[in-house]
């Protein structure tokens, strides 16, 4: 009787410890992205064993895909990655191409793709994969507003990620942010390549000077939710050779009129 009570007490204490550990952002296992500003806002880097959301507009999906690929590459470069997507999103956004994946400096051998017929299947498959600790990262790609991904479903994903140590990344294309238990939420757009001679009618095809090759993946990433730190918006470049995010060297005045806070080194605190 006595021992039973003791063990109950011990297990309760364990539960409380576990809850506290997750409540505290500093105890999470962090992976630095490489971009100084973003890492500072995230207090050291992106938290593993949680769920992060990346939103993008429909035509910006490739940038968001690249950003997620980069995050996955930082979080678990050698471990299997499960990429769950719907059939429809493959038609709408194009299939994930492993040639392009390899061009980003990532390892296509780690990638297992799952094509789900509908949202329910995709959610369930993602939850299953998140619960399997042999996997490094699970990416769930969803197109459009998804009624099924409510707070409960989001909580399920987070719990699965916490118990197994797998990181979940949600790619939400053409969707509005809704309440969720995600650790962080990003809105990603494509950003201009660093400067080179822009194309003009007079000199249509200037061969790019060596070293100044344009076309490296550059993202305009806005952190709109961060449970344990400030928000911000940064221009990040994915370094394909070294596999980390970096500040683009001497980012120029954007061609389009820039929003007031870009590029931004200072944190922008936002309510919510």
């Amino acid at each position: 009787m006595m021992s039973a009570r003791m063990s109950t007490l011990a297990s309760l204490r364990g539960d409380i410890e576990r809850l506290e550990a997750h409540g505290d952002g500093y105890a999470l296992n962090k992976v630095a992205l490489g971009h100084a500003g973003a890492d500072a806002a995230l207090r050291g880097g992106l938290a593993a064993a949680t769920v992060h959301e990346v939103f993008s507009a429909g035509h910006q999906s490739a940038a968001a895909t690249g950003f997620i690929a980069g995050l996955a590459g930082r979080l678990a470069p050698r471990r299997p990655l499960v990429w769950v997507r719907q059939d429809f999103s493959e038609i709408e956004l194009g299939a994930l191409s492993m040639s392009g994946w390899a061009e980003l400096g990532l390892d296509p051998r780690c990638v297992v793709s799952v094509r789900a017929a509908d949202v329910d299947t995709a959610l369930r498959t993602a939850a299953d994969a998140l619960a399997c600790d042999a996997v490094g990262v699970v990416v769930l790609e969803l197109w459009g507003e998804v009624r099924q991904l409510d707070l409960t479903a989001s909580r399920k994903l987070t719990l699965a990620a916490q118990s197994s140590g797998v990181t979940g990344l949600l790619l939400r294309v053409a969707a509005q942010p809704s309440p969720s238990t995600a650790e962080s939420r990003w809105i990603v757009r494509a950003a201009h390549s660093p400067p080179a001679a822009p194309l003009t009618l007079a000199a249509p095809l200037m061969p790019a000077a060596p070293g100044s090759a344009w076309g490296a993946p550059v993202f305009d990433a806005e952190l709109v939710r961060n449970r344990h730190g400030p928000l911000g918006r940064w221009i990040m470049e994915w370094k394909c050779d070294e596999c980390f995010f970096a500040e683009p060297a001497a980012y120029p005045q954007p061609v389009a009129a820039a929003p007031a806070h870009r590029p931004n080194q200072a944190f922008q605190r936002r309510a919510g």
Partner: protein
């Protein structure tokens, strides 16, 4: 129009198959006529064959109306050959079919007996004796041969067999002689069973049909244990498992589950089936209950025992393979894929998406081409399976990139471009003319990066019949990050 089949009542009126419909109507004006549906007939024969699977795994179709059952080594399970014959005929008659069956040691002999003297069981060596008194029509040869034999005065099979084989062959052909020999028990024509023989079968029969889900799932897990025990004795593991649910009313449902690596644990098999049954679009319908549930391993492999404890990597791979099996059991093996590089320049064929269950090991050792150091990505991250056409009003120079283009109803102005990267199609693999593609990397004013191409070369490929330059088609093939 002819009569294809008729029932007993019509036969009593004096009608027969093959008779013209007009004659039949004249004999029997109140005749009811339906169109023959050979597809439905084939379907019902297939269903009966499914039902017959409960007696033996080797069931062959003998269209249009026959089935062969190879009952070698099975009869004793049903109380002997006579009891088995009674059981099959009784059950089918009860369902409303007209059955004639016979057992013999060669398939052709058994078929001949069903036409001449149904219900007989002929021992090995007594075939000639049993078949000889039957009419030649029982052999089931062409109508021309049967008529020819009758005209020649050979009424029974015995009469024909008494003639020298060379005479028969000269008049009716070699095939007929062979068939005759088989019917007499000299040699046998092999039957081709519908399904290959499973490596292991375990099954459970119920005196009282079961309908509840819990009993079915308990039965499946018991069967899984029995199957694993049987396979374990020979060091085998199952790669493909099939569960057969035999309903009392004759309907049979088979559910197949594939595994990526040999399954040797009952819990794994049990779990895979649970996932599969859970995800069925049309759930298992017990109807009046299942009276037989069978689990068979149709493909097995020898299991290589590995040292698990010390090598964490192997352990992880096992877990990943388990995960893939579970997902595949639920949503189908073709939907869980790994990627393998292919030796081709054609972008859409450069990667082969293969089922992960069977190619996981291959994909983890695949050699991908190394990327060029300090170059931006040259291939897009998102590739459209079908390149999407874009509207290009004009390109700056004939071979150059477009100035702006319209894709999905939005206009994109080209700010930066690099190219062309010329990719010729593999003419040695394709029929007809295929156009060379000029690919460009494009960045628009919003920073979006596209991979577009022009189909065909100016001057050489893009010419009209009069020799003038033809307009080019442009496509978006992919999107860069």
């Amino acid at each position: 129009m002819q009569i294809y089949a008729l029932d007993d009542k019509a036969a009593r009126c004096g009608l027969e198959t093959g008779q013209p419909l007009a004659n039949a109507r004249a004999i029997c004006p109140e005749l009811m006529v339906f169109d023959a549906d050979e597809v439905a007939d084939a379907k019902i024969l297939d269903d009966i064959a499914d039902w017959c699977d409960r007696f033996t795994p080797l069931v062959a179709l003998d269209p249009p109306h026959g089935l062969f059952l190879d009952i070698t080594g099975c009869a004793h399970l049903f109380g002997g050959e006579a009891a088995l014959l009674r059981m099959i005929c009784g059950a089918l008659t009860w369902q409303g079919f007209v059955v004639s069956a016979a057992i013999a040691s060669t398939s052709v002999c058994a078929r001949t007996l069903t036409r001449g003297s149904p219900g007989r069981i002929v021992k090995n060596g007594e075939e000639a004796e049993a078949v000889n008194p039957l009419p030649v029509s029982a052999l089931g040869a062409d109508a021309a041969i049967t008529t020819g034999l009758r005209r020649a005065g050979l009424k029974t099979i015995g009469d024909v067999a008494a003639r020298a084989p060379c005479e028969i062959t000269a008049r009716f052909g070699g095939d007929f002689t062979t068939r005759l020999a088989h019917a007499l028990g000299e040699g046998d024509a092999p039957i081709s069973p519908r399904k290959p023989l499973p490596d292991y079968i375990v099954e459970k029969r119920f005196a009282e049909p079961v309908t509840t889900e819990s009993v079915i799932s308990i039965t499946l897990s018991q069967l899984a244990h029995m199957l694993v025990a049987a396979m374990g004795k020979q060091g085998k593991g199952a790669r493909r498992l099939e569960a057969g649910f035999f309903r009392t009313d004759g309907a049979v449902r088979a559910i197949v589950v594939d595994t990526g690596q040999p399954a040797t644990k009952a819990q794994v098999i049990d779990r895979l089936f649970r996932e599969r049954l859970d995800a069925l679009n049309d759930p298992l319908d017990p109807g009046f209950g299942f009276d037989l549930i069978r689990l068979s391993a149709s493909r097995t492999e020898i299991v290589v025992q590995q040292q698990r404890d010390l090598d964490a990597n192997v352990h992880d791979n096992d877990k990943l393979a388990d995960l893939i099996d579970r997902i595949a059991a639920r949503i189908g093996g073709r939907r869980v894929i790994v990627h393998l590089p292919q030796d081709t320049h054609i972008p859409e064929r450069a990667v082969w998406t293969a089922p992960a269950q069977h190619h996981l090991a291959a994909s983890s050792q695949a050699a991908w081409p190394a990327r060029a150091e300090s170059e931006p990505p040259l291939r897009p991250l998102r590739l459209f399976e079908k390149p999407e056409p874009i509207k290009v009003p004009f390109a700056t120079v004939p071979d150059g990139p477009p100035h702006h283009f319209t894709w999905r109803r939005a206009v994109h102005a080209v700010v930066r471009a690099e190219g062309p990267e010329r990719i010729a199609m593999e003419w040695w693999k394709q029929n007809g003319e295929v156009l060379t593609r000029d690919y460009f990397r494009i960045e628009d004013e919003a920073g979006l990066r596209f991979w577009i191409y022009r189909d065909g070369l100016y001057g050489s490929e893009l010419v009209t019949e009069e020799g003038k330059p033809a307009p080019a088609n442009w496509f978006v093939h992919g999107l860069f990050a």
